[in-house]
């Protein structure tokens, strides 16, 4: 049986107020948005209907273990949400720390299966605080990456963020970008303004990763930090090929302005960029999947991610439909195994 690493699982608090147990006294009575208090909530709920029950979806480690591990997943990377880019950035940093302490306390330290790995959340709007949080937790063996929101008021290639990425790279931690929960001070989610329907939001929002990616390349961040890796965890890899072609097209002309970009932008991808899969990427016709993945070498960049317990949760079988054998291996476990240094079960091979 093929090993499987699920690179995108969202663990949740049992109830929204649970986070307050992990906040310092000075912040316990602050007003903070709930994870589900989003501008664009899915009608009917953001999470799989069958998971609403005794426990909040994704909140019980036993249940999550049963759902994932009994169905063939070897490792799951937990990538918790925080509460949005809330205006008080110092409070937001405390929220990130509380989420991290909770993740260790509830999920990672009690986990006897040793199959969960975690993401430490940091707040990019507080660069010093984010670096301090990385230094506080970087040596924990089960925290394998740094997590930041997709939402931002400046793209991640801008210089104010660079100390955060530098600290992550210094510890060999990839940076995972994921659409956050909660409710922050954000720009409208599409280039044309606010979406008028939930599908309009859900279809577009993941594609915003490209602006982060383009600026990380053009501002020279990847060039200066050879060990830095970004994971775009909401998918969107399907639009990578056309937009990277466009970025490549004008590279030579633009070198006067950005001489430090010393190779085609797409040449930075293999060493610096990974994606998690999503239910919305890939051709509708699975017969085109192999060729589709070959453009821009996407099968070396993509890692299976279920998005459990989101309503759009996808299974490894559906995700890998149409891929050839080597592509399947890369996407279902090999790329994640290399990125996170996770050795898969011998028996699985």
């Amino acid at each position: 049986m093929t090993p499987i690493i699920d690179a995108n699982v969202q663990p949740h608090f049992r109830y929204n107020a649970e986070i307050r147990r992990y906040l310092p006294d000075a912040h316990k009575l602050r007003s903070i948005p709930d994870v589900e208090q989003q501008w664009y909530q899915a009608p009917g709920g953001d999470y799989r209907q069958d998971l609403y029950g005794e426990n909040y979806p994704g909140s019980d480690p036993e249940t999550v273990s049963r759902h994932l591990f009994s169905q063939g997943v070897d490792y799951a990377i937990l990538n918790p949400l925080t509460r949005g880019n809330i205006a008080d950035y110092l409070l937001n940093s405390r929220i990130c720390a509380a989420v991290n302490d909770w993740l260790l306390d509830r999920w990672l330290e009690p986990d006897s299966t040793n199959r969960f790995r975690g993401t430490m959340r940091v707040n990019p709007e507080d660069p010093k605080g984010a670096v301090a949080e990385i230094e506080r937790l970087a040596t924990h063996p089960k925290l394998v990456q740094v997590g930041v929101p997709m939402q931002s008021r400046e793209p991640y290639g801008k210089p104010m963020f660079e100390p955060i990425w530098e600290a992550a790279a210094a510890h060999g931690l990839p940076v995972a970008v994921h659409i956050n929960g909660g409710n922050g001070v954000d720009h409208p989610p599409t280039f044309a303004g606010h979406a008028h329907t939930y599908p309009g939001y859900a279809a577009f929002m993941p594609l915003n990763y490209f602006v982060h990616l383009a600026t990380l390349i053009v501002e020279g961040v990847f060039g200066r930090h050879p060990r830095l890796k970004f994971v775009f965890a909401d998918g969107g890899y399907d639009i990578l090929t056309p937009l990277m072609w466009r970025l490549d097209t004008f590279w030579l002309s633009m070198r006067d302005q950005t001489p430090w970009v010393d190779r085609y932008p797409s040449e930075y991808l293999p060493g610096h960029v990974r994606f998690c899969s999503s239910a919305f990427d890939g051709p509708v016709d699975a017969g085109k999947m192999q060729r589709w993945m070959d453009f821009t070498g996407k099968s070396d960049l993509l890692m299976y991610g279920s998005s459990y317990p989101h309503w759009s949760t996808s299974t490894p079988g559906v995700m890998a439909e149409g891929l050839d054998g080597p592509q399947r291996d890369k996407v279902l476990w090999r790329n994640a195994s290399e990125l996170y240094g996770l050795a898969v079960r011998e028996s699985a091979l």
Partner: protein
């Protein structure tokens, strides 16, 4: 120095030549601000052009290479008789029609203004100028086609502007900025305009207005890049946003005859975006009761894309991608003359799969705009 022969009107004796290449993105400019202003209502002149810079040179928020010198224009497109590139219709005809071999070209003036009334008056002024200069005085050959520029901020006035030009022999389409101040294209705000355009058989084209006197850059959802390079590569996402809105917000259901042309914003993204919309639609049909058909079907029926700037990846792979995308009925060749990132017809044609070439270079535009099969030859053209 080249001299351009000034032809006043058709002799009726010119050869008719077959239309083989239609260029769907060409940028004319008024030869001077004074000329443009002479078409403006007198009471508006001081209000629209407080600094007098209604025509280039203009400062850009995002500058292309050496733009202080080039103004993002082809240096060799500067007319030998003076003026800036794109301001001399006869020289443009020589360079683009005669030398490059374009049969018919669609003109898309770039202009925008912040205040709603100023936007309307400015665009209406451009229409009068375009119709008089390019579509009449310098159009004895009938090979220039025009765009009716309309204000995105005042759709009722835009609809009346469309009506004003209905029946004009050379106005081919409506042109609207995609920088709509936070209102996506599928919003009913635009319904009066769409209705007027569809009723009169005009497609609605949209073109990035990145280099206009009145810069209106869209706010990127995760903040704006610092350089033209990453800014311009991301910019297709503005069209993706508008396209998703048109489909999910039901504009094509409300306006079955509406046709939309996305100019200069890429087109290879249509493959993943169509599939993405189809997947979301399948999963969330309950949220979209008004969207009756599969999203990709709306794109195939209602949307066209122009091809410049063609992406610079290996030709074999690019053709293979276009074959897989299978949008040969929806792509229309364009040069972007006289801008710096011009694609020549000879470069472009080789990039397309053989089976799609004729449609992309000629057929799709001819069908969309109702263009003739032959045009008058220019002096020396065969």
């Amino acid at each position: 120095m080249t001299t351009i022969e000034r032809v006043e009107s058709s002799t009726g004796q010119e050869d008719e030549i077959a239309v083989t290449i239609v260029d769907t993105d060409v940028h004319p400019l008024p030869v001077s601000a004074d000329v443009l202003m002479s078409y403006a209502p007198a009471e508006w002149v001081d209000k629209i052009w407080p600094t007098g810079n209604a025509v280039a040179p203009v400062p850009h928020f995002y500058d292309t290479p050496d733009s202080y010198k080039t103004m993002s224009l082809r240096l060799d497109a500067a007319p030998p008789n003076g003026g800036i590139a794109g301001s001399d219709p006869d020289f443009a005809a020589k360079q683009l029609l005669l030398d490059a071999g374009v049969s018919i070209a669609t003109l898309e003036p770039m202009c925008d203004a912040h205040l709603p009334q100023a936007e309307h008056v400015l665009k209406s002024t451009y229409n009068d100028w375009l119709a008089d200069v390019w579509l009449d005085k310098y159009n004895w050959h009938g090979r220039w086609r025009g765009s009716i520029s309309v204000s995105a901020q005042t759709p009722e006035q835009a609809a009346r502007e469309v009506e004003r030009w209905a029946g004009h022999p050379y106005m081919a389409q409506v042109l609207m900025t995609p920088q709509t101040r936070g209102i996506p294209f599928g919003n009913p705000h635009f319904d009066p305009l769409y209705e007027a355009a569809a009723r009169n058989g005009f497609p609605v084209a949209t073109h990035l207005m990145g280099q206009t006197p009145f810069e209106l850059i869209p706010l990127y959802p995760v903040g704006n890049p610092a350089h033209w390079h990453d800014f311009f590569a991301s910019w297709p996402l503005l069209y993706v946003s508008h396209l998703m809105s048109l489909v999910f917000d039901g504009a094509f259901d409300r306006h079955p005859d509406l046709r939309v042309v996305f100019v200069e914003g890429g087109f290879t993204w249509a493959m993943p975006v169509m599939s993405r919309m189809d997947r979301i639609w399948e999963a969330r049909r309950g949220d979209l009761p008004h969207v009756r058909r599969r999203p990709s079907e709306y794109v195939r029926e209602h949307v066209r894309f122009t091809t410049q700037p063609l992406e610079d990846t290996d030709t074999v792979g690019f053709r293979e991608y276009l074959e897989m995308m299978d949008l040969g009925d929806n792509l229309m060749f364009s040069t972007d003359y006289p801008h710096w990132s011009y694609d020549s017809p000879t470069y472009a044609i080789n990039r397309f799969p053989a089976e799609q070439r004729e449609r992309i270079m000629r057929g799709n535009a001819t069908a969309l705009y109702g263009l003739p099969a032959t045009v008058k030859a220019l002096p020396g053209e065969r």
